[in-house]
Symmetry: C2
Subunit: 234 residues, 2 copies
Amino acid sequence: MNHNYKMIAMIPARLGSKRIPKKNIRYLGDKPLIQYPIDLCNETNSFDSIWVNTESEELGKAAKKLGVGFHRRPAELANDTATNREFVYEFLHKHECDYIVMVNTTSPLLRKETLEKFIHFINENDYDTIVSVISEKEETFYKDKPLNFSLKEKINSQFLTPVEKIVWAITAWKKETFISLQDSGVNPVFGGKLGRFCIPKDESCDLDTLEDWRIAEGVLTSRTINTKERYMDL
Amino acid sequence: MNHNYKMIAMIPARLGSKRIPKKNIRYLGDKPLIQYPIDLCNETNSFDSIWVNTESEELGKAAKKLGVGFHRRPAELANDTATNREFVYEFLHKHECDYIVMVNTTSPLLRKETLEKFIHFINENDYDTIVSVISEKEETFYKDKPLNFSLKEKINSQFLTPVEKIVWAITAWKKETFISLQDSGVNPVFGGKLGRFCIPKDESCDLDTLEDWRIAEGVLTSRTINTKERYMDL
């Protein structure tokens, strides 16, 4: 089944960042950070429209320059305590769609194929919310106790129950559900029928510190450079 | 308190790897993979001796060439089903120490400061086993259910209870405990008083596939290259 839903893409962005100033317009490798999700959304050809949701005039200008819409976020939804619950709601009131797909600028490593599979996943199902997760089979502790393994034996990690963490790289919400939950005072962020979509581990990254930034550049470089095979002489 | 324990380092290594043939002697960046843990152990100046534990003559030669010991692992402990439970036990029987520190070749990103802190952590405490973990504060699912968050609210990730996964980058065992547990048929791998030591997230990596390999090279490159700051023109 393919619902062929009407989808729009929203890229939330703020100019400020304490540890990496102006990070969204800073070059990561060969293009500014904000351009990664924009190019990605354009390349999939699946969105009715693509919007940068920001309070910043500067980022709004950047959005227009890169050929996508500028959704001016009200200043009161741009402070440190504002959550996506509020700014997604505000955005949805002004844009027609079945689903909104939020693509974060902190996900420059996301591949086109992954976003395409995500869109396919939306259309093939009928979730109200879909979060992106990374699934890992590693011995894990939670609250000082083993979660998915036993201290009494060491088993091969492929037999462990996976642990999945939300990475917020891409998120989808059904507009109707989001609005009605928020209107009735219920948190819509994980609202309704909740789906989880696995993305490859190397497509998620943090961009909190300059070190994260350098690592992301390293990973991007590694995708284009083909290492020469070389072995130790024995 | 500093116990000043006698410690030896053991680097387990096998020549074979299905997806990356001869990976331990393959160059990662500017040196062979096996040389990373060897250099690291040498640099800390904390070990009485450093050994490569392998069944491979070729890797044994590599170890000697790089100035460390070659512990020849019996062939029956080098197949796919042999676990560290068995080969650590065999190794410990032949080497005197208070603690054995296992450093994996799959951890080329580990920094000297981290290994030094780990050794300090051994000496300051009295654990029987210490595993290295990465601690993350992310919304996590386990068996289809939220583990450390509630679907009813979206809270800032800094307030989430962390989830810790074992990475096997560095592990320490007290010899006496390991031997006596194994002798009495109890699994010694997580045996006795168990400590957890957090390592920085960017010092852990997988090296299962050629893609992992390229990423590790990218990360290593990112540590030496200093990005020029450049911003989008608006």
